[in-house]
């Protein structure tokens, strides 16, 4: 799976805000607020990856965590993206 659109992420009031860009956006015209973890996952999702691959990548960035925790976080975040039709 990967992101359907390109996203621009910027800090607004100390929050990461992501806005999808491009002329072909039809189903989603809003924005997403996320913490730093979410922004990292979004970055990884620019490539075609599985949930397990994202979790493994996140584990490298956050070695204090464990695979179970990483998977749970990634699955939760990806579910939100899917709900908004932002991944394919």
């Amino acid at each position: 799976m990967k992101l359907k659109y390109e996203f621009v992420i910027n800090q607004v009031a100390d929050q990461n805000v992501a806005v999808p860009v491009g002329e072909d956006i039809q189903n989603f015209s809003g924005f997403l607020k996320m913490n730093d973890i979410g922004a990292e996952i979004l970055e990884i999702l620019k490539n075609d990856v599985t949930v397990e691959e994202i979790a493994a990548e996140m584990l490298k960035k956050h070695p204090d965590s464990n695979m179970e925790e990483a998977l749970e976080t990634v699955q939760g975040f990806v579910a939100q993206l899917k709900e908004n039709g932002l991944v394919e």
């Binding site: 910027n10 607004v12 009031a13 924005f31």
Partner: protein, 232 residues
Amino acid sequence: MSIHTVADINFEIQGSLRFMRHLREEYASNETKGDFIIDVPEKFSGNLDEEGVAEKNDIIQRSLARKLSEYDAILLHAATFDIKGNGVAFSALSGTGKTTHMNLWQRLLGDRMTVVNGDKPIVRFFDDEPETPYAYGTPWNGKERLGCNMRTPLKHICFIERAKENFVEKMDPKEAIDRIFNQVYMPKDPVAVMKTMELINRLIHSCNLWKIHCNMNISAAETAYNTIFKEK
């Protein structure tokens, strides 16, 4: 070809401005050249029904809105007015009554208050006053056609919510993110989106942010005005 100035931005319009009286008259420019050209397709040059006029209006508005970030400016959906050099913007979901509430303030304040724009002002920053957003009148001033070609330094952004009791809460920038993002025209180009987000960030850090819970009585305007302007 005609030249127009909106928010101190000069641009040329190629095509007919029939049914666009505000733009044609109030925003006509003395300049001889615009920074860019907005094309109005030929099909909008003849007679138009209400829908056609709205579509034509939209094309011009969106064409300008796409360029705004290059001028440190954004198109905000808000009813905006001036009270003796203090700009106030009322933002709300459509149908919540921001125009009604603004009219209550007008009743309360009379000629101390001037409506800048009833629907879609442009908010612009300048390098020499980096913390002062200026709200400008635009030709897009809502169905009531309230507003004029002027600007005011925007000091207060108020998010209107209907309630039985009138009260006002101060908000911090973080709380305002959702509300403000929903009311700003977002371009499609990545560079312009990045810039627009920076400008939104500056805007919510430069203005006082308020949540106004109000009914539609004149007391709603009194409560809100007295709280925001700290009058006894």
